[in-house]
Symmetry: C2
């Protein structure tokens, strides 16, 4: 039996559903990995008490965090401070190779802002910390999508569709995955109908050719006509896609696999996965049984990464 890999669990916003998901899934995930929770024992105990249960004996806590009163569903500076520190501590352990990977539970950006941590979220902080372009990829076992552009206004995407930038992205992505075939979406309807409906797709064609030539294999295929790229037949061929913009990739993913998806950061020095949902303040600590599929799938994704 191989040794279980260590995973630092960034506990997320303690006024949200993160701790509840961690507690509900502890017995399942400890069979797959060795979880280390980035939260103090006293805060974890307080959360467990609000959920009318006991903290498991083997719920390993790590780090120092200021105590505060957990207020279910409330955006607070105190919760923001703790969730930010929990995340940072997880990254520090990963940087020092004390853990093999980081798994993040949902934070509130508003709470981070109240705590004067002015990042747009986990991925934004990661990109700044590692001074590299983190590639945001989302998905599940059946389908994964890497986003060429993510949180930018849609009208700004067209000018980013340039051969050189696309080529760099493809090369970064090739280094970050073990995929054997990646379907690249086109940009315009009907991939531009030979220029009549837009010219950006010509750049995609060139970048794919250049990347495949450099890689000496036909890793990237496309550009695929966007609206028929996710039919059943196409998904039997492609498990991994590159989308040119946020909704192009996430509409089909969430249409098909809403509850199951995870969010991973590629092209950074550490391994990091995240759940693909928010703090769900509305159901936190209300015995509403928050969905743990995304969390458990994130653990499974981490577990499968060759170390």
């Amino acid at each position: 039996m191989s040794k279980k890999i260590k995973v630092a669990i960034s506990i997320g916003d303690l006024n949200g559903v993160g701790l509840e998901i961690a507690l509900n899934s502890h017995e399942t995930i400890k069979e797959l990995v060795e979880p280390i929770y980035m939260v103090s024992e006293s805060l974890a105990k307080e959360g467990a008490r609000l959920l009318n249960r006991k903290l498991p004996q083997d719920f390993t806590c790590h780090g120092k965090y200021k105590n505060f009163k957990i207020k279910p569903g409330v955006v607070s500076k105190e919760a923001g401070k703790v969730s930010f520190k929990s995340f940072k501590t997880a990254l520090e352990l990963a940087d020092k190779k004390k853990v093999d990977a980081v798994l993040t539970l949902p934070i509130s950006k508003e709470a981070w802002n109240k705590a004067k941590e002015n990042y747009k979220g986990h991925t934004d902080y990661i990109a700044q910390r590692y001074a590299k372009r983190a590639i945001m990829a989302l998905g599940c076992e059946a389908m994964f999508v890497a986003l060429y552009t993510d949180h930018i206004p849609l009208k700004k995407v067209a000018r980013k569709i340039e051969e050189e930038k696309l080529y760099d992205f493809f090369m970064d992505l090739a280094k970050s995955t073990n995929e054997e075939r990646i379907g690249v979406l086109g940009f315009n309807p009907h991939i531009g109908e030979n220029g009549v409906l837009g010219e950006e797709d010509f750049a995609i064609v060139k970048a794919i050719k250049k990347a495949n030539k450099k890689l000496n294999k036909d890793l990237f295929e496309g550009p695929l006509v966007p609206d028929t790229a996710f039919t059943k037949t196409k998904r039997e061929k492609y498990k991994f896609y590159v989308a040119m913009y946020h909704d192009q990739g996430l509409i089909p993913l969430k249409t098909l696999f809403f509850d199951e998806s995870i969010n991973v950061s590629l092209n950074i020095p550490i391994i990091r996965a995240s759940v693909d949902h928010g703090t769900a303040y509305d159901i936190a600590y209300k015995d509403k049984n928050p969905n743990c599929k995304s969390y458990i799938n994130a653990v499974k994704w981490i577990e499968k990464i060759p170390t």
Copy 2:
């Protein structure tokens, strides 16, 4: 029993799968409507002969068309001429109220061009013939999408997201459907996060409010966050959507209902539905049993329209 409605069937490109679909579905559709086929009896017989069968006795043909030799899978001027005339004849019958609706089988734009009929397709000709903005809507019983913009480069969409233009579109659409609730998609990721990820969604908010006020009912809802608008829960709520651009609406539709969808033109003086696939030259007259779902669904859609 109510009288069956009359439908002019534009036969499409005779070198493609149109006639085969019409023949294969004749027994089924004649139970629902009274089909009148816009093709000469001699061409229909020749096509039937190529398919090794006889033309049914009650296969009513209409119009005069120049005879030519059907060549399966070939783009030809002769086929283009006949398919264009077939389409035009169908519209003429509808204009004169001699039929209640028009159903179009797939044509080849290239063949039309060879025949010097320089339209981008059925919808383009319809828009010019009726000098109105035809609204392109696609879907099936489970889900329909009307496109605010359709065949234009994606980079040109942002500048079209304006309150007044959207309002006009909403009012035109309201006149063309009996829907009780229409979900309107936002434009930017996360509908712009209050402007941080783009400002176009503010115009959508205003146009929805204005249209609902004018209509004196809350017909339009949104803007919906695009990437979560098509989850199972959301689709239980919305059966009819407005998409801001081609792929935003057609990616989820084709991902979920590829074979079943139809294409209809709204906001024109006649009723017109079409199959949502092409000429399928590769399988024409090869006994490959072309999929008739879209055709039959188009007939069902027409049959349900209150006359």
